[in-house]
Symmetry: C2
Subunit: 325 residues, 2 copies
């Protein structure tokens, strides 16, 4: 029996939902791991579906008909196929997890501003000194990248009484006051990075730029780790210039995640990230902001719609667009 679609990076719950709802004429295979971790060498199917951590091997590209990334972002797939000669249908899911990610950003902000790691650490001794935090009410929050997720985050922060401004090269959402990055950084008490990864945003929020923030500002990244180098965040925390960092995303995450899962503590980046995550004013989550039951249900629906559309028309409802850098 031929496999029609190979789903990589499929969690148990997602696999169950897709299996239940996929038409019986389509034969799937599921891998919990990335393409690299699964050690798949031969192309398992002409339709491959991944999330954000797999790399499509160059050798597969000539035989593929379609790649669907089950994510709201598509920069990783765009980059892999930039030089590909054969036409391959490339799709992504479109917005399905904006609210989940916005709530994750708010949670990280509350946890950082209230020193919750110290509170949890001190709880077993009921030791209450040194725990004074601040309120999010009236805090000045700069949203870097006001797309689907950025605008949802802006709305939620404003609903909680924060003073919100946005930075975007294409200021298309009406509900926010836009400023330039150079204006916004010295003003902001909190920066939330929600930007897509492009040639322009890669490395943009580096040490030099973030040093323009007021002392003690908080930095949160819920989009792509490559936008802000980890070593820069480490040094800004070391020097008490940043008051706290919350990260759900990391540079070169597919490689880093693989090394962390295999326990490769000799790797310098693994060591650096693990030590950083252990600090009292740093909170790291394993790229999990999107992962709500509500988003997962919508994701399965979008996945099935995308699969059906491709088999009907050869096109995805959300084709990966050219990225304007």
């Amino acid at each position: 029996m031929t496999v029609d679609i190979a789903f990589f990076e499929a969690f148990t719950e997602e696999r169950q939902q897709i299996t239940e709802q996929l038409p019986p004429t389509i034969s799937p295979v599921f891998y919990q791991d990335t393409i690299q971790e699964a050690g798949a060498s031969a192309l398992p199917a002409k339709f491959i579906s991944v999330r954000t951590q797999s790399v499509i091997p160059d050798g597969w590209k000539q035989e593929l008909d379609a790649v669907l990334t089950r994510s709201q972002g598509f920069d990783h797939i765009h980059r892999m196929f930039t030089d590909c000669v054969k036409p391959v249908a490339l799709g992504y899911l479109g917005p399905y997890c904006s609210r989940a990610v916005a709530e994750h950003a708010l949670m990280l902000l509350l946890m950082l501003i209230k020193n919750v790691k110290a509170q949890l650490d001190q709880f077993p001794r009921f030791y209450r000194e040194g725990l004074t935090g601040r309120e999010v009410f009236r805090r000045k929050v700069l949203i870097f990248g006001v797309g689907q997720i950025g605008s949802e985050t802006a709305k939620l922060c404003r609903a909680c009484g924060m003073d919100v401004r946005g930075v975007d090269i294409d200021p298309k959402w009406d509900g926010i006051e836009y400023v330039s990055l150079d204006e916004g950084l010295p003003w902001a008490e909190v920066v939330i990075c929600a930007a897509a990864l492009t040639d322009i945003t890669a490395g943009l929020l580096n040490r030099k730029r973030l040093a323009a923030l007021p002392t003690g500002a908080l930095f949160i990244n819920i989009s792509r780790g490559e936008i802000s180098p980890v070593e820069d965040l480490v040094s800004l925390i070391d020097e008490n210039r940043l008051g706290g960092v919350g990260l759900d995303v990391f540079p070169d995450e597919k490689d880093l995640g693989e090394k962390m899962r295999s326990g490769d503590i000799d790797d310098p980046l693994v060591r650096q990230v693990t030590a950083f995550a252990g600090r009292p004013n740093v909170i790291c989550t394993p790229h999990n902001a999107f992962n709500s039951a509500e988003a997962l249900a919508l994701k399965t629906n979008r996945t099935l719609e995308s699969v059906a559309a491709f088999y009907e028309s050869g096109r995805f409802p959300y084709p990966v667009p050219e990225i304007k850098a």
Copy 2:
């Protein structure tokens, strides 16, 4: 030199602020600890100021002129002086930390609903299975006790898109739909306890009542631990009837806190609370919800206003009222 006021349970930051702003004619003494922990046997001053963890010794009551609790709640002071014959001026601070406590409740809710303890635990292996949470958007939230803190919490939850109802014996705040406890519990996905401790509320949210919640509901207490017995919460979590518990307050907290600070791990309640706090779906903070810089500044202002008013008129701006049980 005679001491005019003895401040117990004064954190470093609070002590500094009060010292700077107290008139030079008033001579204070500060203790970081409770009256019991400080081992104060003789009355140190005719004006005593505490927070929520000290017990005023019976022997002091005949000599005291005034007691000011530097807290938004006053039930503990009311109880201690119920049978006191000598007239002692009893005051509290009035609302100063409603917003801080409301934000703490929201933080606990987000942390529980997003399984953040599991996310932090699994981060060092970048292990991403089993982390699916839910969104707070559209969740059904029952606020038990809609006073200053309860109404602030209700407003914040509603701003975040939750469906909020309230339970109160005196439904005086217009902005919420009131229901009875019996109606509210089977409806609620989340219960936030923000009620004052009275003869009626003590032990009210016990095992039997909370068992009326839908399976998997979350319970958060940011007012007084006596309202919901810990052993009942333990058994409801054990049986997976509650999906998560977030506690900032604990029964008999002054005694429990003292034992926890002294490392008394042989005490059954200390053992129970510490083990409970270590569970993946339980988050315990050491009565710290109120503790924001904003609330602290307002608290110092209110403390100084209260002291000035007492010396001027013999009365506090917020006298401890009779509690209608």
